[in-house]
Point group: C2
C-alpha cells in the first residue's frame, strides 16, 4: 500500500505504507495517520504530507533556531499552527525562554499527535507552554508588543491556512511583536509555488523593512527544496549569536552555525522569485 | 500517464507524462525518453531519472563550477560519463579551458540526447571537446598527470556505474590528474544511500588528503538533497576565486559565490555519514 501526494498534476510523491493508523474528518480538515515503511509515522492533512517521525527534525529545527539565535535574549514566542508540537520542542531548548504560546486551529491534530507522534509532542506539557485551540488570526489580535518571535507553522495556502499568507496577517503579526521582534513563516517551494512565494514575500516587504528567505531541505515536501522567510524591522538573520548557535547545534540533527549561514544563500532562480531586501 | 521511480520500496517519485518519445535497450542499459507535463523532456536509464530539461541546470552547474572556480587556471578537464553533455556545456564557460575530454560508455545516450536534449548537448561540437565512447575506467588508464579536473558524472552504483564508486577507480583518477589537481564525483543522497556515501568518501579519503562533500538540491533525484564530493591533495573548495565565481554566476540559474560557500555547510546528520577531512 502506498500513500501518494499529487503535486498539481506535475509530479507526485509516494510513501510505502505498512498500515493506516487513523482517519477522521475534523471540523477543519481530513486527518490521516499512517505507519510508513521507512519514515516512521506520517501525518497528512487534506491529503498533504505534514510530517513524518524520521524527517520532522529538519523543518522544526530550521523554523525555530534561525530566528531564535538571531534574537539577543528570546523570552516570549508565539507559534501559529504547529499542532504537532515539534516547533515548541525546539524553542524550549533556548534557556532564556519564559513563555511559548501555541495557537492551533484544530485541536484534533494535537490530540492525535499526542498519541502517534510522542517525539514531537513531548514538550507540550512544559509549564512554560500555553496551548490555545482557535483561529490564529483572531487570537493574535489580542496582543500588542508582546512577543520576541512569531512563527507561522502552517499548512499550505489552501483551506484553513489561506489567511496566513496575506498582508493583513503580517500587519497583525507586526502589532503583536515587540518593537524589533522578528517573524518567520514557512514559505513553500520555488519549484511548485513560485507565485505564492512572490506574493507572500512581497506582502511581507510591505510591512517589514528586512525580508529574508532561507532554505531548509524538507525531503518529503514538494521538490525537497523548501523555504522559510523571516521578516523584521531591525534584525537580520546574518547577525546571529554563533556561540549560542553552536551550543544549540549539539542537540540538533540538521541545524548548526555553518548551516545557519549557508541556508541564507539562495540559488539565482530563487532570488528572482522572492522580494528579499538583502 | 505517469512515470514512476521507486526508491527501494521506501518512497517513490512520479512525473506526469504527456507522451513517450523513445524507448530502447542499448548494449548497456534501458534508455527511455518522455515528454513530461511540467519538467520538459525526461531521460531515464534503467528506470532511474537522469535529467529533465527544466531542472538539469542544478546538477550541471554544481558539479562543474565548484571545482573549476577552485582551480587557479583550469585548462584540461575529463568528464567520465555525462553523455547528455550538460557538464561539458558548463565547463566551456571558463575562458581558460583548452580541452574537455568526455568519456561516455554508451554512445546511444549521447546520440539520443542530441535529438531530445539540444540544450545540454549544444556544446559537444566545440573544437575544444573530444568525445570518446568507451569504458571510463580503462580509458583513464592511458593518462598520467594530465588533467586539472576529473568529473565523475555517473549514474548510481548499479549497472555500468558500479566500478566508479571504488578505491581502485579513485587511484586511477589520481594518476590521471596533474599533481595538485582535483576530482569531483556525484555522491548520492544521505536519506537513501547512507552506506554508499560512507564507503565512497572513505575510499576517497584513502587516496586523497582533502575530501569535501557538498550539497546540490537536485529536486528530481531521491529526496532532493543530493551531494557531490570533491577530493584533492592540495585544493580546498573553501579557497575559490570569488571574482571568477561571480562572473560565471551571471550565466547560471543556480550557482553563485554565496551558494559556493553555502553548499559546503552540511547538516549534522550528513556530517556523521561522510569521511570529510574538513
Amino acid at each position: 500500500m502506498w500513500f501518494v501526494e499529487n503535486y498539481d498534476e506535475k509530479a507526485s510523491l509516494g510513501l510505502k505504507v505498512k498500515k493506516k493508523l487513523h482517519e477522521e474528518q475534523s471540523k477543519f480538515q481530513k486527518i490521516d495517520i499512517y505507519e510508513t515503511e521507512f519514515f516512521g509515522n506520517l501525518l497528512t492533512l487534506d491529503g498533504l504530507v505534514m510530517l513524518t517521525e524520521k524527517d520532522e527534525f529538519v523543518y522544526h529545527e530550521m523554523i525555530t533556531h534561525m530566528p531564535l539565535c538571531t534574537i539577543k535574549n528570546p523570552e516570549r514566542v508565539l507559534v501559529i499552527g504547529g499542532g504537532d508540537g515539534g516547533a515548541v520542542r525546539e524553542i524550549l531548548k533556548h534557556d532564556s525562554i519564559k513563555e511559548v504560546v501555541m495557537c492551533e486551529i484544530d485541536q484534533r491534530v494535537t490530540d492525535l499527535c499526542r498519541i502517534y507522534f510522542p517525539t514531537t509532542t513531548c514538550k507540550l506539557d512544559d509549564p512554560r507552554v500555553k496551548l490555545h485551540f482557535e483561529d490564529g488570526f483572531k487570537f493574535m489580535d489580542g496582543y500588542e508588543g508582546y512577543f520576541d518571535l512569531i512563527i507561522t507553522d502552517s499548512s499550505d495556502p489552501v483551506g484553513p491556512g489561506v489567511a496566513l499568507f496575506q498582508e493583513d496577517y503580517y500587519r497583525l503579526v507586526k502589532k503583536a511583536l515587540k518593537p524589533g521582534g522578528i517573524m518567520v513563516s514557512q514559505s513553500e517551494s520555488p519549484w511548485y509555488f513560485e507565485d505564492t512565494m512572490t506574493s507572500m514575500t512581497g506582502a511581507m516587504a510591505n510591512v517589514f523593512k528586512n525580508v529574508q528567505t532561507y532554505i531548509a531541505l524538507v525531503t518529503l515536501y514538494p521538490s525537497g527544496l523548501w523555504t522559510m522567510t523571516a521578516a523584521s524591522d531591525s534584525l537580520s538573520l546574518y547577525d546571529f549569536d554563533e556561540k549560542r548557535s553552536a551550543k544549540i547545534a549539539e542537540t540538533c540533527k540538521y541545524y548548526n552555525p555553518e548551516i545557519h549561514k549557508g541556508a541564507l544563500a539562495l540559488p539565482n532562480f530563487v532570488k528572482k522569485i522572492v522580494h528579499n531586501t538583502k
